[in-house]
Symmetry: C2
Subunit: 432 residues, 2 copies
């Protein structure tokens, strides 16, 4: 029998889990500071919901786990946290709007497995449902920047663009309706493959040379948000979509300034993002070069409407937790803690086992995490074990010390030992 | 389209999630205090593992979600957290033993849906793998009692019994091998249906009158653990299994005394528990009458061995979180908090919106959870909204107050208002 977990999934042993909890706790804390409230949904969703028009789309459905439950219902495992949110908003008409929620849960996609790309993975989303104002988008961006600051990222950048200006650009460049998706897919690669790479791809896709020039001239505009928007405005001045999109971005930038958000954002005119459901600003967070996207999102004002029959505006972002943790591990941004346990109580021989058990329990009753040997092993093996599971301190219980109501506390890293009166032990351990 | 979650699953809106997090955080805290370390496993497991001999067994497999993944692998959703643990121990031979872990994750069983019985539900397990000593079982019981104390349960009881003494009882009563399971199933109901109920069931199952008398005489023994064990010992004195089981329970009780664990435990000779894999002590926690079991477990020394080829002893308990939360809600043991947000910043008109946004952001930067209106609504609607989402305080920003660099802080419950200097606002809000 093979004991490995299913391909594309992982087990998280304690050492790894302690790292993950550090990351998740920090993210959760920032989300809550920004007023987002916790939500959880079922892992299994009706197929009707997962495959609804306007939901994740064909490409994602190809990667979605689906099956019939025992009553013959067609169901599947959720592939994101946005579709469940849309369903929940649709089924809870009395929710006060705007509804600001976060959700940190697993999603499943049967895609190619690679490093940092699993089939079962954790995602963390924030969304604001029920506000069409750019204030809501600005808040999402501000929260995102706070999250990465709190996690200790230095070099990261939130790229901003707009679905409407992308449409306007396609029109301006004379791209046929049926070639828009593939054209945008190449445009989106500018930062990865450079101008010549995009040119080559567009030529291969038989885009007219004239159109390519217009696109490249446009997407390579760089500068401060104000500078980029100014040039963009000039080029798209005849487009209603273009004007609307630029107006949205101007408002967004102005709110970010009012909020005094650290300037970790830029307008990036080549940012396209795949999902069809975006309708306004789109966002993507990149860490330093070579790592790529670690969060992404945007405004989707029509998606919930497809479920509900009436439009409810929404905007949000999704954090790729697995990717973020991988990066943080590689860059040694996480404190390695092998055990959440503070103390291991060691009995030097059988005569003091009872006493060492009493001391362990006294510590626990005083909210100090403590462990002891449930296998009655000899002293050396107990210390070996405490070392192997990475416990920072041992309390060594011996007859000699007990006669004066003391124990020795050993720092397992330095080997230093201190005699402590048993009655002072809780106090002593609370302070180190 | 139906927007409800799949039958047997639930969405947890913020108000409910905040309650759940209170419970989970407390449980996690106690688990860690007792030295159990976090672990997570994949939701999807190979069918080969789920259906392995010695795992959950036929009855559970009937309720297990199973399907083929896109590569044709037969897989299923985990139905408990014990089988994944056994697999993980088998696949990580270098884990230092004893391995003490907790796991708080969802499991799936396609059973009948009832109040507090879902098909997707959260479970919280602690297990100690690699110690055959009753100290490990005593620690599980001590931790369990601490969990329910920490959660605020008053009337609860840990029932203890032993698989070996149950076997010995069946032999003593002359029950045929093929009738043992159904006999124990009736025995297990003593606390629910009483002596006459058990008698009737056993008669219906065609158990000999002589055997019934022996069983009833045995299982109705009551008293302190010592008293019960003394009588039990007398009755089962000729049985090797009986002696071993009683010896285990005596050790267990003696360790609980050494640990000075609160006397919330009893020996209950009718406790049987369903799962085949238990080999020694078995445990069950009941809250007050009518609620039934809220946690259960026991020692399973042979299960991991069936996976691994060599026996590794293990003991543990599983907490039925959904049941526990239901009970705590019914008994009003949980503090109702509608929002984790402390403050909503209200702008009395458009002229001060920018300032109110600045103030919101200042609070967030100082780690005070704060929200504001992203819809530019008028004052009354902002206050209405803050009330609807249950925020305890509003900061009211108006021109008059701004001219003296102050804002008003309103307690939304009492309606009391206090003028606070903006520069003191963080400090003021941190303290209330």
């Amino acid at each position: 029998m093979k004991f490995k977990s299913v391909k594309g999934s992982r087990d998280f042993l304690p050492e790894e889990m302690i790292l993950r909890q550090q990351v998740i706790d920090k993210i959760r804390f920032v989300f809550e500071t920004y007023g987002f409230q916790p939500l959880e949904s079922s892992a299994i969703e009706n197929w009707e919901i997962l495959s609804a028009k306007g939901a994740g789309g064909e490409e994602i459905l190809k990667e979605t786990y689906n099956f019939e439950d025992k009553a013959g219902r067609k169901v599947g495992l959720r592939y994101d946290l946005t579709v469940p949110l849309a369903r929940i908003v649709a089924s809870n008409p009395s929710l006060p709007l705007p509804f600001k929620r976060y959700q940190i849960e697993k999603v499943w996609r049967y895609g190619d497995v690679a490093k940092g790309r699993l089939r079962e993975f954790l995602q963390a989303d924030i969304d604001t449902v029920g506000s069409e104002n750019m204030l809501a988008d600005a808040e999402i961006i501000a929260c995102t920047i706070s999250v990465f600051n709190e996690l200790g990222f230095k070099k990261f950048l939130v790229r901003l663009n707009n679905r409407k200006t992308l449409s306007a650009l396609m029109k301006y460049a004379g791209i046929n309706e049926d070639k828009i998706i593939e054209t945008l897919r190449s445009v989106d690669k500018l930062d990865k493959i450079g101008e010549s790479g995009v040119r080559k791809e567009l030529q291969d896709k038989e885009i007219l040379e004239k159109s390519i020039e217009k696109i490249l001239g446009f997407i390579k505009i760089k500068g401060t948000p104000e500078e980029v928007l100014k040039q963009e405005k000039e080029i798209l001045k005849d487009s209603k979509d273009g004007k609307e999109g630029i107006d949205e971005l101007e408002q967004l930038i102005s709110y970010l300034k009012t909020m005094d958000v650290e300037k970790k954002y830029e307008i990036n005119l080549s940012l396209a993002r795949g999902l069809d459901y975006y309708t306004g600003p789109i966002f993507e967070v990149v860490a330093e070069e070579g790592i790529g996207s670690i969060a992404g999102g945007g405004r989707y004002d029509k998606m919930i409407g497809l479920f509900l029959g009436r439009n409810i505006p929404a905007t949000g972002i999704s954090f790729g937790i697995e990717r973020i943790i991988e990066v943080m591990k590689e860059k040694k941004m996480l404190k390695k803690i092998k055990s959440k346990n503070k103390v291991f109580v060691v009995a030097i021989n059988d005569d003091v086992r009872k006493k060492s058990l009493e001391i362990t329990q006294m510590l626990r009753n005083n909210k100090i995490s403590a462990d002891f040997d449930t296998r009655n092993r000899k002293l050396s093996r107990q210390l070996e074990y405490a070392g192997a599971i990475g416990i920072p301190y041992t309390v060594i219980v011996g007859q000699k010390e007990l006669s004066s109501e003391t124990v020795k506390v050993r720092n397992m890293e330095t080997g230093n030992e201190t005699k402590v009166k048993i009655k002072n032990l809780v106090n002593y351990l609370s302070k180190i």
